[in-house]
Symmetry: C2
DNA sequence: TTGAAAGCGCTAACAA
DNA sequence: TTGTTAGCGCTTTCAA
């Protein structure tokens, strides 16, 4: 110790315990002088907090997630945390193996955007009750896990209402894999609103896979069965873009002949021409909120689970336009 | 120790030092029994290796990077490493602050895809000579840093040759920010090949920003100055997509009136209609190679810097088509 | 071949 | 208010 003391330094650095202004000054000076940097790993060992959180998602290549990841990292960074990225491909065994590794590394908390395991599994199997967890888009089943979601049901209805309002008279829906809550909610929102119409028919709802190709195929199938469809609400933007592609290939004009509305609000919706009308989730905000909530939990405030339901917004663009009749 | 020994366990786990088959068996059994999991943080403290690498990139929201990140994470994961994600926005101070944090955390190595600092800075300022580093897309200036790149110059010429071969007779180039080597190399490749033609003119090269809007504006500007351009080679896919958008807005048919070729091979090139012809880099492969090389360095083999130059490939799609004359 | 013990660098309880 | 010291859980000499 160039100055005088020993682990009073610790007190200075952590700003806890009693220290005289005087000695504090001294210590800080020496710290400065020596370019001293506390060793994070040692602190981790001693304090069981590493200033690291993990973000487990299905696949960072899926265009929805980079923006979320960016938000998570931004907020984490701002609070002095570092984030570990984990691609689970929605496979349970990958999630599990990540969790094991992460726990060994004294991770401080986890943000889950991957859907495989029920919360119960997580708790039971991995004893992460103690570990702060926040989830994106799934129902909370335990007390320690907060959830960030957005208004899928209401959003779906906004989409349908928008299509109705511009004059569509037969609206179909391409829905995502039913194992995702988001897909189910959006489907339900559509169905509820639409079932009262005379043109309603269950096979106006066709399954997709939340990807481009799924949207393309679903749209083809749809048009074969219902050539008179004049509006499509897709369960996410990727499938909507797929549908748009199919239209383009079949020589069907959008929005003149068929209007298309997506869901998510990913950046890609602005690259096509016409640009895609969509129900935009506050994607960045969702990631940022998740990180914020997680960090608050880690730091001890706000222990109980909460559900945050963010607003969605209709972004009207080229793939939908008022019909001139 | 439930079995018999003490830190022989360490030897067993790390498979080093002498241990009898017999005691090894015993130890393993107890490990199994107790569900013992070595504590990674403690190992980190003791051994100065944490099994964690960092991936510093400009922005994970930029569509080029998710696929790289995915590759890095896949390979890391396969080798028992965990990856920390860092968005630098190409700002030096962010890179620096990350490096500081990462060093404190005993990170084992860094993959750099961010371009701000010269290697010299990195070495001089942050003493990361000891730390294994591999860079994506930049010239190596020091001995310890390997570089992964792809054939930008040759790729640019493939693009131009392709446009020539389908009958384009006046080919423009939208180039990226000159501070990026990749942008400079692609520009050089274009220029070298094109300067011998009578139609060549320096203002056929217009600047873009590697983003969609930059491509859109550049294309507008270009067409104003040279309405007779019939081929555009953009420095990356995003700008090419921007150019495509501009064409679509101006009612110019692609590929009939103007052909467009991009560079990178990102997934987005398949969402538009027509789909974008592009010079595809092996994006995933680049990330995977970076991770592989880094891990090899970390593990001691292969200490010296190498340059890996990966092949690119022409992916012919809808935005270019043989002119019928 | 195995055990004892000294760290790795920091935090926190306990004395002083 | 500050110093001592015992861990945190593992690796690694050095002896035995």
């Amino acid at each position: 110790m160039a100055g005088v003391s020993v682990a009073t330094v610790s007190r200075v650095i952590n700003q806890n315990g009693y220290v005289t202004k005087d000695t504090e000054q001294k210590v800080r000076k020496v710290i400065e002088l020596l370019h001293y940097e506390p060793n994070a790993v040692a602190r981790g060992l001693a304090g069981k907090q590493t200033g690291t959180i993990a973000f487990i998602l299905p696949d960072i290549s899926n265009p929805f997630f980079p923006e979320v990841a960016r938000a998570v990292e931004d907020v984490a960074q701002a609070h002095g945390y570092t984030v570990i990225l984990c691609n689970s491909d929605d496979e349970g065994h990958k999630e599990r193996s990540y969790i094991e590794v992460l726990k060994k590394k004294y991770i401080d908390g986890i943000i889950f955007a991957s859907n495989t395991m029920g919360q119960e599994d997580m708790q039971k199997l991995y004893h992460i009750d103690d570990l702060p967890v926040v989830a994106l888009d799934r129902a909370p089943t335990n007390q320690t896990c907060s959830v960030i979601r957005s208004k899928n049901y209401a959003g779906a209805q906004m989409a349908v209402n928008h299509l109705l309002s511009i004059g569509c008279r037969k609206i179909a829906h391409i829905y995502g894999p039913p194992q995702f809550v988001t897909a189910r909610e959006r489907l339900a929102g559509y169905q509820e609103l639409v079932k009262k119409f005379p043109w309603y028919s269950p096979d106006l709802m066709v399954p997709g896979n939340f990807h481009l190709d799924g949207g393309m195929k679903a749209a083809e199938q749809l048009l074969r069965a219902h050539p008179d469809v004049d509006g499509i609400f897709a369960g996410n933007d990727l499938m909507a873009l797929g549908a748009l592609k199919t239209m383009s290939r079949l020589g069907i004009r959008v929005p003149e002949q068929i209007s298309i509305c997506g869901f998510d609000g990913i950046a890609l919706t602005a690259v096509t021409e016409p640009e895609l009308t969509t129900i935009a989730q506050p994607i960045y905000e969702m990631g940022a909120t998740a990180a914020r909530v997680l960090i608050e939990k880690i730091q001890g405030n706000d222990t109980n689970a909460q559900e945050y339901e963010l607003e969605v917004e209709l972004v009207e663009r080229g793939t939908t336009r008022k019909k001139v009749t």
